[in-house]
Symmetry: C2
Subunit: 110 residues, 2 copies
């Protein structure tokens, strides 16, 4: 049985990676604002994603203050894709039933 990617399956990192996937490229400050997180915390999570080669940095200096631009790497994008597949197998996401043998999580509305 496959397990959920622990690197992605964490509140802050899931959002972070989702934002990067949507936006393509974001600065440290962009992420800090969007995630509403402390500097140190964001730094720690980015370091993990960098270490795993899920994201990459492009540092720009010269014009204006130095800034770091973060992007998803192909590795990170593939991991995200796999992660989403895992979630779909596990949970009743989207409209289709995830498994043929079970109609998971129904009868909620009542």
């Amino acid at each position: 049985m496959e397990e959920l990617d622990a690197l992605l399956h964490q509140p802050l990192r899931t959002q972070l990676v989702a934002y990067l996937a949507a936006a393509g490229e974001l600065t440290f400050s962009d992420l800090k604002r969007q995630l509403d997180v402390s500097d140190g915390n964001l730094d720690a999570h980015l370091k993990k994603l960098l270490a795993a080669d899920y994201v990459a940095v492009r540092k720009e200096s010269g014009k204006g203050r130095p800034q770091s631009f973060f992007v998803l790497t192909p590795t990170g994008l593939a991991a995200l894709h796999a992660y989403v597949q895992q979630l779909q197998k596990l949970l009743p996401l989207g409209e289709a039933s995830p498994a043929p043998d079970a109609g998971l999580i129904t009868g909620l509305a009542g």
Copy 2:
């Protein structure tokens, strides 16, 4: 902005709750086998879910060894439902686009 439920957004607990939702009721040993996890670890996670009233126990003794049967409570089921909604907003799950302004995470296959 709403955040992901930290109690549910954790590898073991997400799976645990998904299994409970699918099966309706599982014993400690069932969960241990399915999740392939140590006794202590499973106990700790169950305690958290019990403390949050996401799951409930029914303890049976008398016939055979004493066993604990775990179920999702209505609270837990509602939390799971809300959690899935959050994921759908954040990630491109299912077939439908999550947001009108972005076609998230495309161009993966190439």
